[in-house]
Structures are given as structure tokens and as C-alpha cells.
Amino acid sequence: MIKTIVSTELPIDERFRIRKNVIQHGKEGLRFCVVTGTHGDELEGQMVCYELAHIVGENSQKLNGTLEIYPALNPLGIDTIQRGIPNFDLDMNRIFPGDPNGTMAEQTAHAIVEDIKGADMVIDIHSSNLYLRETPQVRINVQDAEWLVPFAERLGMDFVWVHDAATVLEATLAHSLNATNTPCLVVEMGVGQRINHKMCHRLVKGILHLMQTMGLWQGTVETGWESSIICKGDHVTFLNAETSGVFLTELKCGINVMRGQVIGQIVDPLRGIVLSTVTSPVDGYLFTIRAYPIVYEGSLMARIYNR
């Protein structure tokens, strides 16, 4: 059943709507939410939502509870290929839990949180941005690690990053939900504006597996994946560009690298020279790598988990 959770007028003959697909079976059972599209340039979640809606919708007799799918929390951003909300300065994932008396974006954020909170599990799917490519991973605030890591391990992602708490991140959807005791896992994978089918299929399986272990899904799920790498504590090395230029690399993320290994080079197309070489300062697991080649001094080039 398609339900509309936000509906307001736009100036010219259009309504702004945020919708969800509610698939329910069985009188008892838990409520599981899959949300995505907060950032309009992150598209992997679209395929994951499609697959879940298709698989569970076609096999709803195997569902014991409620699956709610929210494919587009920022429909105008998705439609205009913008990360944020058109005509609004702030990142939507920095204004939660919203404000019923604030701007339209803040009212929308408030309505979203009110609609989702109380769920037994929420998966918030992101897919990096245009600039970075990410290994399929779950990100958890250190404050919620004890509670959420056991759920995250069941998603079958390559990597679980338990990161430090930051005040500014208190305004994310995940933090706002976790603060109301609604468990929310943030998934990051792929790169902005593209869909990686393999990663999406993996996440669909992971979500069905998590639902299965929670008693929500009685269908079969092919697992057999390796255990996730769990990164806790201050063990992530950030590599930033030393020079501005064009970044060239042959590497993809999701591999082990050795100290001193070349990650890529930043070159000057005008003079035909290498401006700087990006090398790994540690032995570790490369889980983020620069995808967009034009870089400025300081641009993030890679993140490596230093095991």
C-alpha cells in the first residue's frame, strides 16, 4: 500500500510528496523501515528499494510483520541531481529531527522522523557522493556501537566503521532516530550518481538476512559472505591531496594495501608533470578512494583502516 507522509503545494500546479510503500503480512510482527534519497545525488538506494519492494511484494506471505520502504526522502533533490534540497542552504541530513515551526525543509524533516520513529529497525541507505567511492559499509556512532554493531554484522557488508561522535552529526536522521531508541543503521556504498548492481544485490540480501534473523522474513536468503571487518577506535587514516591537479589511479576500494604502496598520482595536464604521489602511510584496508579526478589541496583521496 502506498502512503503519503508529506504532501504540500508547490507554486505551479504540483504537489511535493514523500511516499512510502507499506507491505504488511501477519497480525503480529515487527516494523522494519528502509529509507534512502536524503541526498539527491545518491542513487544506490533506488535499486535496493526496487528489489526489496519487488521481492517482498511478490512473496508477502513470507513476511511476518511490516516492511516500509521510503525511496525518496528528498524527491526534488533526486529529480534535479542535487545533493541538497533545491533553494535551501543546509544539507537535509543536518537538520533532523526537524522543526514543525521551521522552514519547509525543517517541517519535512520533522514529519519524516515522526513517521519512522518507533520502528524496530531502520536502514538508512547512502551511496557516498560524486567525489568518493566507498566499499559497502555500515557506519555507527561510537555512542551506539554496543547496541547496533550486532545488527550491522548481519547485513553482510564488507566493513563496519564505528566512528567518533561529533556534535554536528547529532542532526542526522540516524542520530535523531537512535536518540528515540529507534535503531538505525547507516549504509554507505558505491559512488554518487551511479548504481552498482553488485553492491545493491548484496545489500538486498543483507537486509533480507537481517529481517530473517529478526523473525520478519521466512524466505530463503543466500548468505555465505565473509564476516564484516569491524573498525573500532581511532584506526582510520585519512589521505588528503598535497597538491591541486588531476588524480589518476588504477585502484578500486575494498582491497588491502601496504605501507608505501602507490594509491595514485596527481598530475598537471598543462606541463605534463606529476605534482605529487599519493602513497599509503600504513598497512591496511582501503575502504574509500577518490572517484572524481579533479582535486584541490586537501581533497580527500582515500581512507584506510589501519589494522
Partner: protein
Amino acid sequence: MCQTMRQETIFEMTSPCRDNFRITGYHFGNGEKALAIVGAMRGDEVQQQFICSQLVNRLQYIEQQGHITEGYSILVIPSCNPFSMNVSRRFWAMDSTDINRMFPGYDQGETTQRIAAAIFTALNGYHYGIQLASYYVPGDFVPHVRMLKTGYEDVETARLFGMKYVTTYQPRPFDTTLLNYNWQLWNTKAFSLYSGHTSQIDTGTCDETIDAIFRMMQRTGIISPRPLRAAYESIVIDEASLLHIKAPHAGIFRRVVVPNRRVVAGETLANIIDPYNGKTLCDVKNTADGIVFFTHNRPLVLQNALLFKIHTL
């Protein structure tokens, strides 16, 4: 012999294809770091850039006349983001990040974190700090001094600007990376000045803001007294007390009242027009006597959009 203005490159960075990115500061006077002023942080803050250029121009003259108090120095940074202004983008053009949400910055971090770190290093240690700011919601304001309630805000000094209003507001999580939030935490008495407009130069509100800054400089003893236009006895309000008037419908917005207008309950503040047949969809009504503090200023409105903030009397 009087000091003369010194120009300093506060930050410089190569770019992949463009000229070098530079942030330039102008120093006046000599001695204790008395006051730092920051202009355009975003690429559309043209009014803020213009005001700073006028300050630099007048401070040169004031310094030459020996009217900067001995032992005090002033820093003005007219633009922290010339690259974005040159290509008509509000935020950092490469990745749309906002320098004003990167403070206190990190000199080993990402590009705009490094820019913020360099700016913050240059601004650190000043007794007073003024940022010519713009708001994240488009609209027109009564020019005012704005401060975050961090426990370090200095309302009494804010009154010295002699602007119509001094406002305070409770910071939200996303405000903790603003320049002024961090400036306050690092012991600078920081003030944001909202001069009413952003992407267009309005000479009336520019003059009002420039006068306010020089008035504050005089009243704090940073410069010698000189003739200025009359000041206001500032009204101090918490922004949470402002009455919000929202749009009952979406459509074409026709504003009837402007900022600083006294309005009464029941008065029509705006009309919203059907974009197809031209009929009035609704009149936007005021609900309490007061003064218009903020107005939406775009020709179109969304349903439930914030249109007016009223200081109720």
C-alpha cells in the same frame, strides 16, 4: 608618523585549472588585536563584500589622519571566497561545501576545512569580531546584530552598534561549525551583522551598516570620535520570541509590507496569487500587533513556507 595599511595574503592555494586562490587581509593600526571584520564567506554575499571594501577605503583615510587609537590594530578580510563569487556560486564550487560551516577548520583536512583553518588562525586572538553574514533562508531583514547564545555572547557591546535590533538565538547542532560560534568559544566577542540584503547592493542599508561598525569602533575606543548619523536604541530580543507567519498556499507571492513596518493584528501582509488564473488564492494575515522583522523576498512561495517574522509588541 602614522601607520599605513598593510596587505597580507592569509591563504593561497593552487588550483587545477584556474588562477591561485587567495584570501587577502588588510591590517590597520599597530598593537593589541582589537577588532577583526570578515566580509563575504559565500559567493553571493555581494553586499557584504561591498561593505568591507568601503570599510577598507575609509579605514585607510582614518589611519592616515591618525585616528586609530595608539596600541590597537584592526584586520579586515573583505572576501574569504573570491573563487565562488567569480563564478556566481554561493558555496565552494568544486564540492558545494560551505566554508562558514567548517570552523574552526583543520589544516590537514579537506579543502574548505583548510581554508577555514587559515581564516581562523588569522582571526584568532582579536578582542572583538564582526562577520557580515547572510541567512540560510532567503529574505529581507531589519538590519541587526545577531549572536549565538553560547554563554559568551556580549549583549551590552552589541548595543553599541546602534542598530535597530540585537537578536540572540539558541545554537542548533549544525551551528557549532559556524565562525561566530567558534570565535566566541575562543574568547572573541563575536557579532554577526545582517545588513538586510545579500546578492544585491542596497546603498541605504550598506551605509547604515558601515555607520554601525564605525559607531561600535568609536564607542569601544578603537578609533577617535568622528561625525556619524544618528543611532538607534537597540531592541534586544530572543529570536524564539518572534511570531512566524507561514504561507497557507503555494503560488505567486505579492508582498504588501516591508521590513521595519509596524503592523496590526488582522492586517494583510501579502497576497498569494494563483499562477494560472491570476486570482488571489489568499491574503496572508498578521495575527498580532508588532513590527515586521523578516520577510520572504522571492516571487514564488511553497505551502507552509515561512513568510514573515514579526516582533510582537
